[in-house]
Amino acid sequence: MSFQEGKYLTSFVTILVVTIAYARRALARWEAGDFDGDHGLAALGASVLWFIGALILAGIATQIVLSILSGIAGGDVEYGEDERDRLIEQRAMNAAFIVLSVAFVGAMIGLVLGQGAVHAVFTILSGFILGGLVADVWRFVLYRRGFRI
């Protein structure tokens, strides 16, 4: 497995683990009514910001560990970006954008159908997370399988 494949596999697992941990906590708080009332959206916003911070920190930590382990194992640890990396990134971002767009439209439809703002925020957040996961899978597949322009 190349360094890039390992990088995106690690990223995928990190997003999944942090998201599951956050989702369990956020759903418990939602059921407990923490996101209801006048200050509910502020509490929700704060919890999402904590989640994003945790995701970034976990992402940095796991990438550092991966780089160290790859270095010890004598594998390629390549940080530069070339034309192949940029093309793969572009395709992954396109896939993520489609997922996010679907989630955003879904959130808007939910609002029209009378669902609350908390629902809408969680739907859009799910779109971001799912988009990130899809992008990582897409990167992994393109690095592994290869592709033609």
């Binding site: 190349s2 390629d76 530069g80 070339d82 034309e83 690095y143 399988r145 290869g146």
Partner: protein
């Protein structure tokens, strides 16, 4: 029109005194993994990169990359 792009990079590296993939990658400014992918025909390089690779071996591009219709 669909076609198959092949290359002779492996042989040219051998002819160039067993030039490593890393050496070639450094010469043309890409990662070793990209050279691996090109050699294995898993990635079709841009025209500019194809010319750079040919230049690294001092050969015309047609000697390095070949395309044939399916």
């Amino acid at each position: 029109m669909a076609g198959t792009l092949t290359n002779t990079i492996r042989r040219l590296r051998f002819d160039a005194g067993e030039m490593t993939q890393k050496e070639l990658a450094d010469r043309v400014g890409v990662s070793r993994q990209t050279i691996v992918a090109i050699e294995a025909a898993k990635y079709a390089p841009s025209l500019e990169l194809a010319f750079q690779i040919a230049h690294a071996f001092g050969r015309p591009i047609g000697e390095v990359f070949q395309w044939s219709p399916k």
